[in-house]
Amino acid sequence: MKKNLIPVLSFLFAAVTVEAQVIDYSAASIPDSLKTNAAVVKRFEEIDFEVKGTDRSTIKFHQVYTVLNKKGDHILGFNQYTDPHTSISDVEIKVFDAFGKQKQKYNKKDLTVVAVGSGFMDDAYYNYLMINTASYPVTVEYTYEVKRRGTLFYPDYTIAGHEESVQYSRFVATISNEAGMHFRAFNTSQKPVVNNPSDETVYTWKYNNVKAIEKEEGTADFDFRNPVVSLAPNNFSYNGYEGKMDNWQNYGRWAYNLQNGRDALSAPKQKFFQELVKDARTDKEKTARIYNYLQKNFRYVSIQLGIGGFQSYSAEFTDSKKFGDCKALSNLMYSALKSVGVKSHHALISAGANNGLSDPNFPTQEFNHMILCVPNASDTIWLECTSNTLDFGVLGNFTENRNALLLTENGGVLVSTPKSKSSANTAISKTVIQLDEEGGAMAEMRVFTRGEYKDMFISSLHGRTPDDQKRVLVNYLGFKAPDDFLIEKKDSADGFNTIIKLQYEKMPDFSSGTKMFLPLNVRKLVNGILPDGKNRKLDYYFEHPFEKTDTTVFYLPKDFMVDAMPGNMEKKCTQGIYTARFWYDENTNAIWSVSDFKLLSHRLPASEYQAVATFFTAVNKDLNQKIIIRKKS
């Protein structure tokens, strides 16, 4: 008898101590402390993530947000991604007014389904609904479930987004022991509560009253201050292919196996590549010749269907079509090199300027691109196989400054890609300007470009209509708008040169009487200042470091002389240096100005931000000075 009583009693106690989370939809009850810096308040969140075996997972979402003003509009857009392995169900969306009264209700049939359409072909869809509101604050409640086949991706738990405060949020991950999980916490020291019932492990995180954090401009993707927990599987399966992600070596092994064997090239094709490099003396030279051939004969077409998102088309197929995506083109390069005895590795990477670092201690599937690595005793060669214009061995800011996962017979190896160098991105110009009595001018500029500038000139300037070129000259390159111009390419021994001829009806920015106020040159060496950042916490990232030099000569009209010239300038900071010198040559009645600007690193540490921002503002001020000439009396 007594024995039976105890289970009943404990049931009763359990009922009493169960935490009942009541949802308050009214905006009035939000405490002021949670409104500071917030555009959105997350009122309630319960997410249940469950992995069964290694091939199925479900995520159940129940979230309530109050949007305080227009800046939080992104919360009013519900958007869930589906594809052959991902489906959504049990969708319920409710909208409440400021008092917490329900106004509208939607479910799955109200969602608009539209193809993602990234690249040429893919099999993914967006399922979205835009909620419209006449006034703020407005509260929305989302309840839905996502089912996945394949466990390559575990979700991130974003406790709070930028400018978002949180009243209550709870995340539970129930992971089968077969799959397992590793996780990494950012900006939160809270550890989850872990339980081990039978053959699974349950992790629970709970947060109350988290204050909103502002967003800073110009940060890198991997640098943020809001709290997030990233999760990743230890063992997974995807599209029927099983693998391990407990360390980089094992994950790399899975990716390697997907690629393995797709490199077969027919005997005649192999002979073709061997002929191509027959008198090349070094491996580097062989690699350069083949890379050059691919750049001239292949084009980029992105087709991502099913496992094709992770496994390339065969080398033979890619060669027959003369097109492919990053995987196919890298794989073809790999196969071609193999046929001439040069060893290389496919390399997975998270691409995008200042995107993705890849942490040696946290293996996860975050890669969106593939490049090729040709190891070499003295200098490793990296190849971006999707570019028709990059110089051989140059990656560009798209994939520099981070880690890539090399796929080798022994599994994955994380290695770092080269660091961006300012001397690799240069623009050196020499400009000659002939002025006439009325202030008109004919100018000719010869610009030598390397790295990102060379790429930019080739893609945006050359081969474009005159109107597009004018737009680029004026809006992106900081040129004074010419009345007429001509742009020509000039390949020469020293590299890639561009000749820009310009004609101006009025060269001076303005005049006063017979005095003409000329700009320091036809284009600004640097355009723009850094945004305000008094109490900046995170590092600021530029697109890339660079070095620019300009030499400009103004030939004055016969009856004109110098009235005033700026003094020599020099401004310095830890990140950069700017110098300018001006002098007048009496013999030729010409004014010379030579200026130089170097930005040494793409990464600006937060501690130096103010000083560097001041540097940029000072340089821009200097660049606004004028050269003043006047008619001889």
Partner: protein, 660 residues
């Protein structure tokens, strides 16, 4: 008054004769001509990366009558051949053929595609597209596509494809001669049985050749256009589809022996009638709406009709959210939309019109097309020409146009989106349609007194150290309120940086005050303190007087244009400035007082300055007297703009006194 005459008018067409000057035949599929091989550059569009050698479409309308049931169907044969001229053109090798999913009535079939590459010795290698490389994909509820990518494409390649489109109804679509790359030859053929009556109109500025042939039982019309430059986006472009060289096709009627003529296209009068009886339109109006006590209470105390109109407009704006700005029809119904406080653009304004009627105002529904949606073609009646429902209110002979989905537009200010266009009027409640059977009841949506107007007042001084500091007060009237009101919804934080950051780098600002943000019948006023270290060269310093006006940068830098410049309304800018300079500086020669007028007097720029005892007074004004400049007026506009911005941006120079 016929407001906006489309630049592309129904043009006089040259007859296509056997002795035509231009060869309008196209080679058979697979046969490449020597001139196509030799082509290295497009003569009439020299920077083009690729050129369409020919693009042809043959539309065959057919009809069969079985067991007293009529079946219409359309078969279209499409052919395209493109030459890739350089690296940038290889992307033309990715093809997406879109088709409608509605009712499974459209199919694309019999696709053939191949790439031709010519070796230096003239040998042509053909790479065929294999069927396995053709993808089919659903894009959305209504649209799907067939996609394929040509193999072996590089500069110098010629690619060509053909396919058939079969549609189980009479598919009337416009044919666009023009594309975003140049087209050497574009040919459009429509073949239809004598029982069908079809209207085709070629809308273009370039010459087009036309031929009309009769066969025993059908008619064949052919349009050919050659050497068409490619086209792209430009500043103040209203709607690109209004400017593409094209043929518009409309099925008018069908008359089969033994039966009555069926009208396939209504007249405007019939269209107005039908919409008025439609469940998703006319039948929705004037139903009783519950829960309007707040409005009723307000209206009870006010008799003046104008004030009553404003009350109703503001009430609907406050309560209703819009979930589809391009749908003038009801989806859930006006009553349900009111209950849920969200609806289509049509539903929101049905509510507005119904409540205005209840408030005893003289109101009529009016349909219009927004600028982006394109001009209304008054020759061919079509339901799809419109995307907005408006309230046309008459008080004491004056008309007010209202759209309750406009968040920042004061009542009485014509909505920006529909300004300077034609609206189709519907009768008042329970009134018969006041039109002849054919025409529609049109209204010119335009008011020359409604402007984009801004007044800037600056008071500033330069101190001994050469720093400029002062106060700015910027008043934004009517249309000038709109953009800034929108931005203010996100808060005052960083407002000055967002609005003025681009052209005022390095300026510091402080103490921002905004007046009348929520009172949209008054000007929106921005007040703030600002300062700037003046650039100096030697003993000179200089500063701009065209501050915070919105006229900092000339948008018309491009030389070639293919569309009208559309400003929407007339515009008025005024800048007043008072500047003092320190004792140790003097003014250098000041810019002259000047007045600059466009040849047709449509733009007037005035500048007057006077300086005395270290105080400079400046007054500048710019007046745009018309809202639109047609293509042939662009050259003058561009020339004038260059001069005007040069004058506006002239700076004031001061020089340190030299010791006597």
């Amino acid at each position: 008054m016929n407001l906006r005459i489309p630049t592309l008018t129904i043009c006089i067409m040259a007859a296509l004769s056997v002795n035509a000057q231009k060869d309008t035949t196209v080679p058979a599929f697979g046969k490449i001509r020597p001139d196509e091989i030799a082509l290295k550059q497009c003569e009439f569009d020299k920077n083009a990366n690729a050129v369409i050698l020919f693009s042809t479409s043959e539309v065959y309308f057919s009809f069969s009558y079985l067991n007293n049931k009529g079946n219409f169907y359309t078969v279209t044969e499409e052919r395209m051949r493109i030459k890739i001229l350089n690296e940038k053109g290889v992307g033309q090798g990715d093809i997406h053929l879109l088709y409608s999913r509605a009712g499974n009535l459209e199919k694309i079939k019999n696709i053939s595609a191949q790439t031709y590459n010519i070796s230096p010795n003239g040998e042509v290698t053909i790479s065929k597209l294999d069927n396995a490389s053709i993808f089919e994909k659903r894009n959305s509820r209504d649209q799907a596509e067939i996609a394929f990518s040509f193999p072996d494409v590089k500069p110098g390649s010629i690619i060509e494809y053909k396919f058939q489109r079969e549609t189980s109804y009479l598919r009337s679509r416009n044919w666009y001669f023009q594309a975003d790359i140049p087209v050497k030859l574009s040919r459009y053929t429509v073949s239809f049985q004598n029982e069908l009556e079809i209207a085709t109109s070629a809308l273009c500025t370039l010459p087009v050749q036309f031929q009309d042939q009769s066969r025993k039982d059908r008619q064949i019309r052919t349009y050919v256009m050659t050497d068409i430059p490619g086209l792209r986006d430009e500043p103040y472009l209203s709607c690109i589809y209004d400017y593409l060289q094209r043929v518009e096709l409309k099925l008018l009627s069908a008359k089969f022996s033994g039966s009555q003529r069926q009208n396939l296209t209504p007249s405007w009068g019939q269209l107005t009638d039908r919409l008025n009886q439609d469940n998703d339109f006319g039948m929705q109006f004037y139903k009783n709406l519950s829960g309007t006590e707040e409005l009723d209470a307000q209206l009870a105390t006010v008799k003046d009709p104008l004030r009553r109109m404003k009350m109703v407009y503001n009430y609907v704006r406050k309560n209703m959210a819009c979930n589809n700005r391009d749908n003038y029809l009801a989806e859930e119904g006006m009553k349900k939309a009111w209950k849920e406080k969200t609806g289509t653009q049509g539903e929101v304004n049905m509510i507005l019109i119904s409540l205005l009627k209840e408030a005893k105002l003289k109101v009529r529904p009016m349909l219009a097309s927004s600028t982006e949606h394109g001009l209304v073609n008054m020759v061919i009646p079509d339901y799809d020409q419109f995307n907005r429902l408006l309230a046309h209110v008459t008080i004491d002979e004056k008309v007010y146009v209202l759209d309750a989905t406009e968040k920042y537009t004061a009542p009485g200010l014509i909505p920006h989106d529909v300004m300077y266009s034609q609206g189709l009027l519907f009768p008042e409640k329970n009134q018969p349609a006041n039109v002849m059977n054919f025409g529609g009841d049109w209204f010119d949506i335009w008011d020359e007194m409604q402007l984009f107007k801004r007044i800037v007042i600056i008071t500033a001084d330069v101190d001994k150290a050469g720093d400029l500091s002062g106060q700015a007060s910027i008043s934004n009237f009517d249309y000038a309120r709109l953009g800034k009101s929108g931005r203010l919804e996100k808060g005052n934080d960083k407002y000055v940086d967002d609005i003025y950051g681009k052209h005022y780098q390095g300026y510091k600002h402080d103490k921002l005050q905004i007046e009348n943000h929520k009172i949209d019948s008054l000007p929106l006023v921005e007040k703030f303190d600002f300062s700037n270290t003046l650039p100096a060269t030697g003993d000179y310093r200089y500063f701009k007087i065209n501050l915070f006006s919105g006229l900092e940068e000339n948008p018309f830098i491009l030389d070639k244009r293919f569309s009208d410049v559309f400003f929407t309304s007339r515009q008025n800018f005024q800048i007043f400035g008072n500047y003092t300079i320190p004792e140790n500086y003097v003014f250098e020669e000041l810019p002259k007082n000047i007045q600059l007028i466009m040849p047709d007097t449509s733009i007037v720029l005035k500048r007057t300055l006077s300086a005395q005892d270290g105080l400079l007074s400046v007054r500048m004004s710019v007046e745009y007297r018309k809202p639109i400049y047609t293509l042939d007026e662009y050259e003058d506009l561009q020339e004038f703009s260059k001069k005007m911005y040069g004058i506006l941006n002239e700076q004031i120079v001061i020089k340190k006194r030299t010791r006597p």
